[in-house]
């Protein structure tokens, strides 16, 4: 290089060339980490509860969002211990906005709204509101963490257990079950959604799926994937066209559940069977005495002032 000017010019060319070559590299970085770099994703994220730091504040923290989220999380713990349940909301909102990948915070946030605040509410309107809010929080959580089976499961469980929407819940259980790290109980919960509402059209395909997809090594083969009254798929295939037998097994199961203080699947009133108030087991509808413990069924039901079995059958409660 003769003069300084020509040397600087050539060096300048080198710099410009390198900068141009870096453009696709930066693009590749952007596409590989959308949760950090995708501008559309950022701009779409709006809090249902509009409390908490603005996106500018979040951005200003740069890489220290996680630390800020941690400090607020610790504050949330203190607020929880202090019993200020309502004050938890803005804190948890801030935590999840600062660190949308903080799965535990989302879980607590959604659970707090759907369970605790739902229970604390005094009117039906408020209860419905908090339940819906909890569900929408968890939906946002799933959107922010599409690769987290725990998050998807949490939404599914809230829909199943709290909102009593088993069909919606089943979709999320199925989605969560596709992840390699998902626990085995998710597979069982998937078909239990249909078991609870006796949707046999969906239950049996779900059972087939469970058998082929997932085996829990802690459970012996004899009792794997046994639904409703501990009968497995093969048994149900055999008896699927026998609604009386279905119901009989359900009543037996309900009795066992009552012994364990676990809620019933179905209403105890049944078109085919009378449930004995003494032993809890089924006897054919209209029986005078219990076929299991010989208790005087008719007398006991009249004494309780319950409708007779004939009138129950006439209401058309079909299987």
């Amino acid at each position: 290089m003769g003069s300084r000017k020509s040397r600087n010019l050539l060096l300048g060319m080198l710099m410009v060339g390198i900068l141009l070559m870096l453009i696709p590299v930066q693009d590749a970085i952007h596409t590989s980490r959308p949760q950090v770099f995708d501008p559309d994703r950022k701009m779409k994220r709006v809090s249902a509860i509009s409390i908490g730091p603005t996106p500018a504040v979040i951005a200003a923290l740069g890489g220290f969002r996680t630390v800020a989220a941690d400090l607020l999380w610790l504050k949330a713990e203190r607020v929880w211990d202090g019993g200020s349940w309502w004050a938890m909301l803005p804190i948890l909102d801030a935590v999840t906005q600062l660190d949308p990948q903080f799965v535990l915070a989302w879980q607590v946030y959604g659970w707090h709204a759907a369970y605790n605040l739902h229970a604390e509410s005094e009117t039906i309107v408020d209860k419905r509101y908090w339940l819906a809010t909890g569900v929408s929080i968890l939906e946002r959580a799933v959107e922010a963490n599409p690769d987290s089976w725990e998050m998807i499961f949490e939404l599914g469980w809230t829909l199943y257990d709290r909102a009593h929407e088993p069909w919606r819940a089943s979709e999320y259980f199925y989605k969560a079950d596709q992840f390699p790290g998902a626990k085995s109980y998710i597979t069982r919960l998937y078909y239990r959604c249909f078991e609870g509402v006796m949707d046999f059209d969906r239950l049996f395909p779900a059972l087939e799926y469970a058998k082929s997809h997932h085996n829990d090594p802690t459970v012996s083969d004899d009792v794997q994937h046994q639904v409703i009254v501990n009968r497995d798929y093969d048994w149900w295939m055999q008896h699927k066209d026998d609604p009386m037998e279905h119901r009989r097994q359900i009543v037996i199961e309900n009795t066992k559940r009552a012994e364990r203080s676990v809620p019933f699947y179905l209403y105890p009133d049944d078109p085919y069977w009378d449930v004995c108030p003494i032993c809890g087991l089924p006897s054919p509808k209209g029986s005078d005495v219990c076929s299991v413990c010989s208790a005087p069924l008719k007398a006991l039901s009249e004494r309780a002032g319950r409708p007779s079995s004939e009138s129950a059958a006439s209401t058309g409660d079909s299987p």
Binding site: M21, L22, G63, D147
Partner: protein
């Protein structure tokens, strides 16, 4: 212009520039390597004898060791806190040390006139700048390694002490922590290059102030990009775009959030930021050499 086209044009320009200067850069590179290395070694040796740096590192080590007071949290939460806090400490102190080491590298030599004895020797100006930078990188690598080793030790210790619960286990995530620390080091390296560039033309005070501003801007790169994309006034858009292009892409190297949340990371995700960082540093060092070449000492 598509990224691919930009890459090809850039490659063409680089090749042309290298071909035109082939008679100069080959011997220059051969001469430069030992000179750069010697200046780097003396820079490291000098820093080792400065008590201030040692004191700060000891302070950080103490901070890391003391981050074990979250016993009321679940094991998983404890590991998350320790990881995110530890990595934050490494990043913050790494950046602070980088700023104060790099800002004094060249201006101090000019002020003390120790540079005269070196530049009177057959040492090219760019070798001096590069040697100083490489020396700073070695010092900062030693600092980050020390802090990372301590953090890993603390995590392993906590792992052995904390009782796991059935639904919550202490996850030291050592691989992720080391990965995040290494990437943090690379972001420090990029920032250090810029600080060295500024120090070739500015005083120590101006360099330090500029360094903090650049750190803030570099950490907000994605926000600036968003704002530039959504800006409506053309002047604002142009200004933000220029700032985005010129500023260092420090967020590229920030994996602390993923590591703290135990998200799976593909280690191949390191290659792109690394390439980007190396390219950026090369450009900055070329510019620093040009500025220092023309500087009257």
């Amino acid at each position: 212009m598509t990224p691919q086209l930009a890459f090809l044009i850039g490659l063409f320009i680089v090749v042309v520039a290298l071909v035109l200067t082939r008679k100069q850069w080959a011997p220059a590179v051969l001469h430069a390597v030992p000179s750069v290395w010697r200046i780097a070694k003396i820079t490291v040796a000098e820093a080792r004898r400065r008590r201030v740096i040692q004191a700060v590192v000891i302070l950080v080590v103490l901070i890391l060791i003391s981050m074990t007071f979250f016993s009321y949290l679940s094991p998983q939460e404890q590991s998350r806190m320790l990881i995110s806090g530890g990595l934050a400490a490494i990043t913050v102190f790494g950046i602070l040390l980088a700023i104060f080491i790099a800002a004094f590298l060249i201006p101090q030599e000019l002020e003390d006139r120790t540079v005269y004895a070196i530049l009177a020797k057959p040492v090219r100006r760019f070798e001096f700048v590069l040697g100083k930078y490489v020396g700073a990188l070695i010092i900062l690598a030693a600092i980050v390694v020390t802090m990372t080793v301590v953090l890993v030790g603390v995590l392993l210790l906590q792992d052995s002490l904390v009782q796991d619960l059935p639904d919550s286990a202490f996850n030291p995530n050592i691989g992720g922590v080391v990965f995040a620390a290494v990437m943090s080091y690379f972001s420090i390296a990029v920032l250090t290059a810029l600080i060295v560039l500024i120090s070739t033309v500015a005083s120590t005070t101006m360099t330090i102030i500029s360094a903090f501003i650049i750190w803030a801007v570099g950490s907000l790169q994605s926000t600036i990009n968003d704002l530039a994309a959504h800006a409506e006034i053309p002047v604002t858009k142009a200004l933000l775009t220029i700032v985005y292009i010129v500023a260092p892409k420090l967020e590229n190297f920030d994996f602390r959030n993923e590591v703290s949340n135990f998200a799976p990371i593909s280690y191949m995700a390191a290659w792109n930021p690394l390439l980007q960082g190396i390219g950026y540093v090369v450009v900055v060092m070329i510019l620093a050499s040009i500025f220092f070449n023309d500087r009257q000492v």
